[in-house]
């Protein structure tokens, strides 16, 4: 079972749900490598780049964006049936994204506040990760995802090996990069110690605290970090906003995030993700390290 | 199943009868009979009332359970020196599995009811018999726990 590829060229699709499009554009961010990939697989569905469409089947379907409308909830189940391997890419697809902050509110009230004629708008109360609706075989974190991780995932799939995605905290990459820790040297509210690696520790290297766009590391001892922030004299309100970012809805952050307009302590919890992340083909070991399984948190 | 003549010595065949005081050994021997089963004999069926507790001298007895859809599965084999049908000594005195000889077996059988009465009357005999039964059952329990872990199942995967 080792090599998931068949004799035929892989049929690859890219599907978009609620998002900014940045993660699927990271494919274009592969630059010349994009053409090398296109030489080896058939990209059969990628609405933002290709006019020809395909409703499947797909060997690999990259899914960007969160589920935030009734149509999307129906569509993802259909796509799952068409996809042998479904990989969610980016913070929206893996956690619900920044738009998931609506989950702390009464969604209808938000819609009313945003649109003069809310009746025209068909949206769900909540924005939820793909993994709360269908089984996900692997995931790439980040807002946006890292081009290197995307390239590695695609390469691993083509070669038939495990994708090697560093499973650690942002601190690992920060130290490898030689960046001075912002917490110790400035008392900055950096989420690096509880945030999953993969970005290359960009923010600290650019002089600002990590804001957790790759989502929680696992384990993520958020309580201990919050205690440290509190010792530095930060208010609960500020600490709550730190976690109310682009992955606020991720399991380990959810209970700690307090968006400014929150009316709920916590958003309604969807289906337990534990059963929802397979990390591989049925009967095949995880495509990514099992450490990527958010359900462990 | 061919009955052999009663042999007082039969009780000595195994750890089960070993180092008993002579009086108790006599008493135990009186309850024992040596029997030979050809291969394939069903000694008892799961749920049957158990008449006799046995000690295997030679051969192998399979303890089997019927799993609907999978047929009979062997969960343990009783090897020489070990006992079978210990449930004959514990209420409700019914067999907890189906016993089949998978090869010709020589065994010493004890009339379960008689043995129960004997140990009830003779505290000394009881103080020898029950610990031996308990040891045999405990050994099986330990083995069953290990089997429960299915340690070979997840073995030799690799994290890479």
């Amino acid at each position: 079972m080792g090599r998931p590829t068949t004799a035929a060229r892989l049929r690859v699709g890219v599907a978009r749900f609620t998002s900014c499009g940045g993660c699927q554009l990271t494919l274009a961010g592969l630059h010349e490598a994009l053409l090398a990939v296109a030489d080896r697989v058939d990209i059969v569905e990628f609405a933002e780049v290709l006019s020809p469409r395909s409703s499947g089947p797909y060997d690999l379907l990259l899914v960007e964006g969160s589920v935030s409308t009734p149509d999307q909830a129906r569509r993802i189940s259909e796509l799952r049936r068409q996809a042998r391997l479904l990989v969610t890419i980016g913070a929206c697809a893996t956690t619900g994204g920044i738009q998931a902050l609506r989950n702390w509110s009464d969604g209808d009230a938000w819609r009313a506040a945003v649109y003069p004629q809310p009746q025209f708008i068909h949206a769900l109360r909540t924005s939820t990760p793909i993994s709360e609706h269908v089984t996900v075989d692997a995931l790439l974190r980040g807002c946006p995802i890292d081009p290197g991780q995307l390239a590695e995932l695609v390469t691993a799939l083509l070669v038939g090996r495990r994708a090697q995605l560093l499973d650690a905290t942002v601190c690992m990459e920060c130290k490898a990069r030689g960046t001075v820790c912002l917490i110790s040297s400035q008392g900055a509210p950096c989420l690096g110690p509880v945030t999953k690696s993969g970005c290359g520790a960009i923010c600290p290297a650019f002089g600002r605290a990590c804001y957790g766009c790759f989502g929680p590391a696992h384990p993520a001892n958020v309580e201990a970090l919050k205690a440290q922030f509190a010792d530095q004299g930060r208010s609960d309100e500020e600490i709550g906003r730190l976690f109310a970012g682009f992955t606020a809805n991720a399991p380990a952050f959810r209970a700690n995030a307090r968006p400014p307009l929150a009316v709920l302590d916590q958003p309604p919890v969807g289906p337990e993700p534990a059963a929802r992340i397979s990390h591989g083909f049925p009967g095949v070991p995880p495509l990514t390290a099992s450490g990527d399984d958010d359900a462990r948190q | 199943m061919s009955e052999g003549p009663r042999k007082p010595a039969a009780a000595d065949v195994s750890w089960f009868g070993a180092d008993l005081p002579s009086a108790q050994r006599e008493r135990l021997a009186a309850l024992a009979r040596e029997v030979e089963f050809p291969a394939g004999t069903v000694i008892s069926n799961e749920g049957d009332a158990v008449a006799e507790l046995g000690v295997v001298r030679h051969g192998r007895v399979a303890l089997r359970l019927h799993v609907p859809g999978k047929g009979m599965l062997t969960v343990l084999t009783v090897e020489p020196g070990d006992i079978f049908n210990w449930s004959g000594m514990v209420a409700p005195y019914r067999s907890t599995s189906t016993l089949v000889t998978v090869e010709p077996v020589t065994a010493v059988l004890f009339d379960a009811m008689a043995l129960r009465e004997a140990v009830a009357e003779d505290a000394v005999l009881g103080s020898f018999v029950y610990p031996r039964l308990l040891r045999a059952v405990a050994r099986r329990l330990g083995a069953t726990r290990l089997q429960l872990l299915d340690v070979f199942a997840s073995q030799a995967g690799e994290p890479w």
Binding site: R16, T18, S19, C20, G21, G22, C23, Q24, L25, A28, G29, H31, E32, L34, L35, A38, I43, A47, E48, V49, L50, S51, P52, R53, S68, T69, Q72, I98, Q99, L101, R102, S105, W110, R111, A113, V114, Y115, P116, Q117, F120, I121, A123, S127, C143, P144, C199, I202, C203, A205, F206, G207, R208, Y211, C213, R241, G245, F246, P259, P260, L261 | -
Partner: protein, 454 residues
């Protein structure tokens, strides 16, 4: 027909309604369920009877994300991170409009080198965004392919050139902001970190190559055959006395409008249309208007980098660019040249600012600003409370402003494709829409808190 006609309101157009009125002529329908090779989810509907356009509608069904709500209660720096997520193609533009709005309200004077860095930053985004659109999305239309992937089989060097240009833009943004998409270093008062001189110097080879590639792009685009087309909407862009418009200047139009950036609302407003998750924008007089490369070239060509102006003149298409939206591909080419050329100069002249970040204090009030996103004028307006947190926000992206012009142009263009096969006609209509480089994720989910007042 503009002026009297409500943009996007084909349905509301005089005598058209649902099209059941009178005439016996058979109705012709063009439906594009989901537009491809545009950023986001939108559909196109055109209904005609004879030569009469009954309905022309660009629907945007991209799911709403409620950004105006998301930024409420946030600090200015948080807003800069959040609004970037409105668009994966032009996050820099969103960060720039926001940061300038706040600095204008707080009276922040950034280091001159920071101002130049921000221009360089914008050059990167134009390179990255225009290269994506010209080569991966738009060129296939002119060269007869249904995708850049198909095009790459025959014209690989062409596609590689586009990807090289995009790489150059990505590299600039990453050098200044950490990563090409959703950069992290933009802060009120400057940047959280200024690049080392060597880091920017390392970009030179890429940019020199990009300049050559950009020039080649203009010359290629100039050869593209385009349908004839009469402009219906007025042109609107920013203009600055000394530089091609990115971050600063005035809002000007082809019919003489000239206002300060924060005053956008004096001349324009937004409204909502059923079936669309976007808000439309129109001039106060109700007319449609066009933003973006074509408008900028038409209104600010004099400030183009000499190399870009030279290339523009060589094409001899300056007037057509202003009149025919299909020529926007040439306009993008010219702006690629400008961005590459200016970027090279900025990189060579760069020296790290004394203060990458200057201190500031928030104050309550209205922060409003506009900058020139690749697709055109991007207006932000925020009400800040006494704690310096966002109380209200209004974000008006180029595409929702262009939407009316798109529909107006559809009405003008539609009759000319009637003689073509249905498939070909539909392809042409899509091509027209694509010429605006609509960014639907930007256009959708915006709110105008003034609607109630209006």
């Amino acid at each position: 027909m503009h002026g009297s006609d409500l943009p996007g309101g084909g349905a509301a157009g005089p005598g058209s309604g649902d099209g059941r009125s009178g005439s016996a002529a058979p109705e012709l329908r063009f439906e594009v369920e989901e537009l491809t090779r545009v950023e986001g989810e939108g559909s196109l509907r055109l209904r005609m009877r004879g030569d009469e356009v009954v309905e022309a509608r660009l629907n945007i069904f991209e799911a709403p994300r409620y950004f105006e709500q998301l930024v409420r209660g946030r600090t200015p720096d948080e807003v800069i991170d959040i609004v970037a997520r409105i668009c994966g193609i032009c996050p820099v533009a969103y960060q720039m409009s926001a940061v300038h709005a706040f600095e204008d309200l707080f009276g922040v004077q950034v280091d001159p080198e920071v101002r130049r860095l921000r221009r360089l930053f914008y050059c990167g985004e134009w390179l990255e965004s225009h290269a994506l659109h010209v080569y991966l999305l738009h060129a296939p239309d002119f060269l007869g392919y249904d995708s850049a992937v198909a095009m790459a089989r025959d014209l690989r060097p062409l596609v590689e050139r586009g990807l090289r240009l995009r790489r150059a833009g990505d590299a600039i943004i990453a050098a200044i902001g950490g990563r090409p998409i959703h950069p992290v270093s933009v802060r009120v008062g400057g940047f959280s970190r200024a690049p080392r001189r060597t880091e920017l110097a390392a970009l030179r080879p890429l940019l020199e190559q990009a300049l050559d590639d950009a020039v080649a792009t203009v010359r290629l685009a100039a050869t593209f055959e385009t349908p004839a087309m009469e402009r219906v909407a007025r042109l609107v862009s920013m203009r600055h006395p000394d530089e091609y418009p990115y971050n600063e200047g005035h809002i000007v139009s082809s019919d003489g409008l000239d206002i300060e950036l924060p005053a956008w609302r004096d001349a324009f407003s937004e409204y909502q249309v059923e079936g669309s998750n976007a808000l439309y924008a129109r001039a106060s007089d109700g007319s449609a208007y066009l933003l973006g490369p074509s408008a900028r070239i038409a209104l600010a060509a004099t400030q183009l980098h000499p190399l870009a102006r030279r290339e523009l003149e060589a094409t001899g298409l300056a007037d057509e660019i202003a009149a025919n939206i299909f020529r926007s591909v040439v306009a993008r080419g010219v702006e690629l040249v400008h961005a590459a050329a200016e970027a090279l100069e900025l990189v060579e002249a760069y020296r790290p600012p004394d203060a990458a970040l200057v201190p500031w204090t928030a104050r309550p009030g209205t922060a409003a600003w506009a900058t020139e996103a690749p697709r055109g004028l991007l207006f932000h307006r925020y009400e800040l409370d006494e704690r310096g947190r966002i109380a209200e926000a209004q974000i008006v992206p180029p595409t929702s402003q262009n939407q009316a012009a798109i529909e107006a142009d559809l009405r003008v263009f539609a009759p000319s494709v009637l003689r073509l096969s249905h498939v070909e006609a539909q392809r042409r209509l899509e091509q027209l829409v694509r010429s605006y480089d609509p960014c639907i994720s930007c256009a959708t989910h915006f709110l105008d808190l003034t609607v109630e007042e209006a």
